[in-house]
Symmetry: C2
Subunit: 236 residues, 2 copies
Amino acid sequence: MESVKSIPPSADESTLEPKYSDTATRILDAAERLFVEFGLEATSLRQITQQAAVNLAAVNYHFRSKDALFDAVFARRFAPWARDCLHELDALEARSSAGHGTIDVESVVMCYVRPAFALSKDPSRGGALFVRLFSRVLVENHRQLRERLSHDWGHLVARYTAALGRALPRLSSEEVAWRLHLGFSVMFHAFAGNDILKLFGRSAVSARDPDLIVKHVVPFVVAGMSATADGKPSAA
Amino acid sequence: MESVKSIPPSADESTLEPKYSDTATRILDAAERLFVEFGLEATSLRQITQQAAVNLAAVNYHFRSKDALFDAVFARRFAPWARDCLHELDALEARSSAGHGTIDVESVVMCYVRPAFALSKDPSRGGALFVRLFSRVLVENHRQLRERLSHDWGHLVARYTAALGRALPRLSSEEVAWRLHLGFSVMFHAFAGNDILKLFGRSAVSARDPDLIVKHVVPFVVAGMSATADGKPSAA
DNA sequence: GTCTATACCGTGATAGAC
DNA sequence: GTCTATCACGGTATAGAC
């Protein structure tokens, strides 16, 4: 099994991120803390501006609206993480070309798990709380953010699709798409700490521990993605 | 593979559900339609009471608050569905006792898939929209609803846990708990139509089609739950 | 018990002075 | 760029009619 500890360094962010004024940065920092703790609707602009020690109207000046502020908070954390995913895929394809040209399912899975694990462990980039914020975006259906992700990072999904397709050459492209859809669904919600069973007060897992998540989610997803169509797991 | 079409009839609801006055029922119906279409925060009580043709204050009289109204809307649809799940588990254990006393993983999975599939196909009980509403509850962490689910339906999770434990006798109880956690995560979000890849505009699956969901999610989850700890799928 | 009218305070947004 | 004042709308509480 591949190690989870080899994390490629992320690109230098200072040269790529948009520059914010001091007040805008203070707003972003305060908003991130509060959004992550209380959620989008539950945090008011008055709370944010008070914590940031700026005027209420400054939010609507620097960002256009509360929704746009949320998008800015999100994009600031998402971009460097997505670049980590791209680097993983680059490295995987480089290894594949240098070797026999083959890709196995677990390697593709690790191209997502490694950056997600690293992010969960790094509070300076939002940590696990950012992943939870991400999952809120998924079920609420943020129009602006959807367009941004689609425009800026749509090719990232295409890269994962291509890699998984090479790892599962016997499956049709529709089946590969479903495996990717289902696999990412588990991994994403696992790292987000979304625990349905806990809603019933009966969860027996530590769903927020990144090490345990990796330990259990990787074999589950690899087996699920590698399954044959009749429901029986394929031979290794 | 088991058929998805054999759906046991649900219990007679009229004798078990709490009785609402006419105005309360009208509020519930209008609230359900609007919550499902626009979400919880985006629908105002003034919208609801206008559609229901009742006074604004009637909401606070019959239900205590907007949140409590949401809980009532939710509980009305959830209870009959959860009973279907219980009937599935009862039938599974009856079959097991009549046979060799063994349970296979797919049978446990189908005890969730069949009711979820039936619900997705039945608009009169909320349909797929209710499942999406359920997924909102998961990430938003509704306190009241959490307590209700824990109190009223905690034993349902215990039943699934016991069944899966019998299907996977070689795994530790911690491993069984993780398999259940991850498996339910995929199934739940699959039926809820939550599609992360679609956020990036690159989803190649029809994530809202119940027939396709069943077709692809069952082999995936069965293989994932049956995986060995080292990531290789086990032989059938 | 059931329903209604109305007032209260906090919210996001905006116009215009500085 | 920044701030004050103001707006319409949100959920909620209550007094009182029937």
